[in-house]
Symmetry: D2
Subunit: 283 residues, 4 copies
C-alpha cells in the first residue's frame, strides 16, 4: 500500500468509478456521445430511456412499443403494497422522494419481479429453440424446470383479480402490428402464446397472459436483458407511486396505518403474565 | 368503538383509502376515467404522466415541453451522490429496485429540491405581480426574503461546475417557441430572466439559470405545483439511476466503498487509550 | 484543476471523508480511541451507543436511563405505519434489510419526529431559564411560539389512543430516582411537568406526557442533541420493525396490501369516459 | 365478494394483520404478554431484543453473549458502502431516518449477508452431525456444496483487510467461557473451528474466522434462525450508521459525492457524435 506513488493512487482513484454512459466537462454534457443539447427537444423520453440503457437510439417502431409498455404499467391502485406504502409514507411526513423510495423498494422479487422472471423463462425457451429444440418441447421443459424449482405459479400468466387483464390484449395487438411491419421478430410473441397453450393443456383451464407476461414479451422482443424488465417496470410504476403520494398530500392525514384504528388487528400471543421473581435471567 | 356496527366499521374501512386516480374492477382498469386499453398505444408516456398527476390530458405542445424537461435531467454522472449510491448499492447485492430506492431517497431538499425551491420563489413572484406589484420589485422582494431565510445561494441559478449549463439555453429556447405559439403564457420565463438580471445587478457577475431553474420555469409555465417539480425531476433522474445501477451490475464489483481501499480516509479522533480500571461507569 | 499535483489531489481525496469515530488499520479497530477487543464483553450495548454518539462513555446511571428509554419504545403494533410497511415489504419479497429500510424511512417528522420536536421545545425553555426567565413564563413563551408556528398539538403530550400512556409513569419514576441519586440534574423533568401543568391550565383538561415526552425528558437530561432524539428512537423502534418483519416471514403471505382485497377502497374520480376523437392533444 | 356480510368482511379485515408480539388497548401495552411498564427499567436492551424476536426472555448468560455480538459489529468505518451512503445522504438533506434507511437498505446479501450465510452453512453441518455424520466429514460436504454453488469465498472466514480480525478472538473467548459455564452447548463453536481447520487444509494457508463467522457461531449457539443473523447485525450496525450520519451533519457539506470533484471518474464510452440527419428513428 505504502509502496504506491501518489500518481498510482490517484490513477487508482480515477479508475474506481468508470462509465460509458455520461461524459461531463465544464459546459459540456455528453450522453452516450451525444451532446445533451442535441437530444433535448429532439428525442422522446422513451428514446432517452433506451439510449441510456442500451447505448444506441431505437427505431421509432421500437420506441413506440417500449412507450406502450411504459404507459400500461403506471398504476394498479391503492391495494397494491407499493402504492399503499407511498401513501402511508406521506402521512408520516416524508417528502415525495422519500415516499417514492420506500414504495419502489417494495417492487422486489414478489411484487415487482414477475416480469423479469417471465422474461427469464421466455429467454430460456428462446435459447433452447435456437439450439434446435422444438418450441412446444422447449416450453414444456422450461415450465417443468420452473415448477420444480419455484412451484406452480408461472410469473406473467394468470391474475388473482382480473379474469382477463384488460392491458394484455391491447399490448399483444401492438406486438403483432410491430411483427407485421418487421419492427420486431415475433419470436417472443410466439413463445408467450405457446406458454399460454401449454398452461391450458396442463391445467385444463385458461390461464391468460397478464400485464407482466405481455410486457415481458415486449421487452424481450426489443432485446432487453431480463433484469432490465424489472427496471423498466419501476420507471413506469414510479408514475403511479408519485401520483398517489401527491394525492395523499393534498388529502392530508397523519400517521395513517393500513386500516382505520377502529378496525382492530388480531393478537394471538401470550396472555398477560408477570416477570418471574428472580429477575428475567433464569441462569 | 364497540358501539359501531359492522356496517359502520366496514364503511369506515372502505373510506380509509380514497382516490380519484384509478378505478379497478375485475377485467376493468380506469385511469382518471379512461379505460386503460384506450390509452395504451394511443397516448405518449409524458401524456400519461400528466394525466396521472393532473387528472386531464395535456395539449401536444404542453406534452412536448414536459417531455423536453424529462429528457434533459436524466443524469449528471457518477459524482452525483444519488448515482454513486445507486452504483454502491448494486455492489452490496441489492436488486435494481433496492438500488433505485436508496438513490431516489437521496433526492431530498439539497440534492433534488432545487427545482421545487426555485418554483416556490417564482410562484411567489407571480403571486405578487398578480396582486399588482411590478415584476422587478416583486423579484427583489422575493430574493430578499429568500436570502434572509436561507442564505445567498438562490436555487436554480449558478452552477458549481458548469459556467453555463448546456441544458439551459436549449430548454429556454423551447419555452420561447411555446410562448410564441401560444402553448404557454410566458410569465414564468419572464420571471426567470428577471431573476437572472437581478442577480447580475446584485452580485456584479452573471449567475445564469441552471437546469433546475430552466425546468422550474417549464413546470411553472405548465401549471404544476412546486412540490411536483421535485417529483418530475425524480421521474427523469430515475432513468440515470437505473442506467448506472445496471452498468455497475454488468461491471461487477463487491462492496465498493466511495474510494479504492488504498486511498485512506482521515481519522481525527482520540489517540489509542485504555478503558479506566473501575469499569466504564464513572458513577 | 489541472494545476494540482497528484500529491495535492490525493491529499484532497484523503481529506474528503473525515471521522473522529473509528480508526482502522490491518488487525486494529479503534472506537473513539478504545481498541474494539477491550470493549467487547466489557461494555454494555447502550454504553456502546453512547460512546459512538458522544465520544465518551457514560456513567452506569446514565447508561441505565438510556437503556430504559430504548427498552420502552421498541413497538407500538401493526397499526403503526412503520410496522405495517415492514410487514407489507416482506410480503413483496424484500429481505430483512430492505423491510427495515422501508420502515425506518417512514420514521420522519410526523411519525418519528415527536420526540425530537419535544426536545427542541424543552431545550428552548431551558435556554430561556438559563438566561434568567422564570420557568412558568418560559414555558408559556415556548408554547405560544410553537402553537403560532405549528398549531395546537404539542409533540410529547397527549395520545390519540392511550388516556394515559403506560410507559410514561415508569420512565418518569426512573428519571426521579436518577435525580435523587444525582445522576441527572432534573431540570428537564421539571420542564416536562411544567409544560403538562401549562397545557392543563390552557385547555382545561389533562394532556399527560406521552412516550415521546418522557423520552425527550430523559434524552435531554442525558445531554443529547434534539436531533439524536429521533436517532435513538429509531434504534429502539428498529427492534419492533425487525420482529414484525420476521414474524411476517414466518407467517407467509404474498403482496399483502393494507386491507384484504375483499374490503374495497373508495374511488371518487371521473366516471368512465372516452378519449376525444382528435387524439389526446387539444391544441 | 358481494355475498359476504359486513360481519364477515370485518372479520376478514381484523384477521388480515395478526401478531403474537404485541397487544395494545387504551392504557395498556403488552409485549409477549408482559405489561410494558414491568419491562422498562427492569430488563436490559438485549433482553428486550431477544424477547421481541423469540417470545421468551433469555438467561443472563445468553443475554451477555448476544450483547457482546451487538457491541462488536457497530462500525467498520467510512469506506464501508453503508456508512458512506449514510454520510452522503445527510449531505443531500436527508434527516437521520432517511440516511439510516438508505444505508440499512445496502446491508443486503453481499454487504450484510455474510453472517446469515455462514449460519446457514454451520446449521447445515449441525443437521448432518445430528443425523450421525462425523463432524469433519460434514464440514467437507458442506464446504463442497457451498463452493459448487457459490464459489470459493466462504462467508465468515478470511478478511480482505485484516490478517486477523481483532474482534474474533475476543468473541470466541466469550463463547468458550459460556460453554464452560454451560450457558451454551458449544456445538457451533466446534463447527466453526472445524471449518477453519478444513479451510487451512484445503488452501494450505490460514483463513481465520472473521467477525461474521464469530457472530454466526454466537447467534447459532443462542438458537437464532440464520435469517435473524442478518437482522441482529443490522441492529448493531445501525448504531454506526447513525453515529456517522450525525457526525456528517455536524461537519456540514452539501451534495458530497464519493470523491472530491477534482478527482475525476473515468469515461470509457463513445466519442462525441452527432444525431443522424433523418432523426433518431432509423426505421
Amino acid at each position: 500500500m505504502s509502496a504506491k506513488t501518489a500518481e498510482q493512487l490517484l490513477q487508482e482513484a480515477s479508475a474506481w468509478w468508470t462509465t460509458e454512459i455520461i461524459d461531463i466537462h465544464p459546459g459540456k454534457i455528453g450522453i452516450r456521445g451525444y451532446p445533451i443539447q442535441d437530444l433535448i427537444g429532439t428525442i422522446r423520453f422513451p428514446e432517452m430511456i433506451w439510449l441510456m440503457l442500451r447505448g444506441e437510439l431505437p427505431s421509432q417502431a421500437q420506441a413506440a412499443l417500449l412507450e406502450a409498455a411504459l404507459v400500461a404499467s403506471v398504476d394498479h391502485g391503492p391495494q397494491a403494497p407499493s402504492i399503499a406504502i407511498s401513501r402511508m409514507a406521506v402521512t408520516c411526513g416524508l417528502p415525495l422522494n422519500g415516499a417514492m423510495a420506500s414504495a419502489i423498494n417494495a417492487l422486489d422479487d414478489v411484487h415487482g419481479g414477475a416480469g423479469q422472471q417471465c422474461m427469464e423463462i421466455c429467454q430460456r425457451i428462446a435459447a433452447m429453440t435456437e439450439s434446435g429444440t422444438g418450441l412446444a418441447e422447449a416450453v414444456d421443459a422450461a415450465l417443468d424446470a420452473y415448477v420444480a424449482e419455484h412451484g406452480k405459479i408461472i410469473p406473467g400468466f394468470g391474475h388473482r383479480f382480473h379474469p382477463t387483464d384488460p392491458r394484455t390484449p391491447k399490448l399483444l395487438q401492438l406486438v403483432e402490428e410491430a411483427c407485421n411491419s418487421g419492427a420486431v421478430g415475433g419470436h417472443y410473441a410466439r413463445i408467450g402464446r405457446s406458454v399460454e397453450e401449454a398452461l391450458a393443456r396442463r391445467t385444463g383451464k385458461r390461464i391468460p397472459m397478464n400485464i407482466d407476461g405481455a410486457t415481458a414479451v415486449i421487452f424481450s422482443e426489443l432485446g432487453f436483458a431480463a433484469e432490465l424488465g424489472r427496471g423498466l417496470f419501476i420507471l413506469s410504476r414510479a408514475v403511479g407511486i408519485l401520483a398517489h403520494a401527491w394525492e395523499q398530500k393534498t388529502q392530508g392525514g397523519r400517521i395513517k396505518g393500513p386500516m382505520p384504528p377502529a378496525v382492530p388487528y388480531t393478537y394471538t400471543g401470550e396472555a398477560e403474565r408477570k416477570l418471574k421473581p428472580g429477575g428475567p435471567g433464569t441462569a
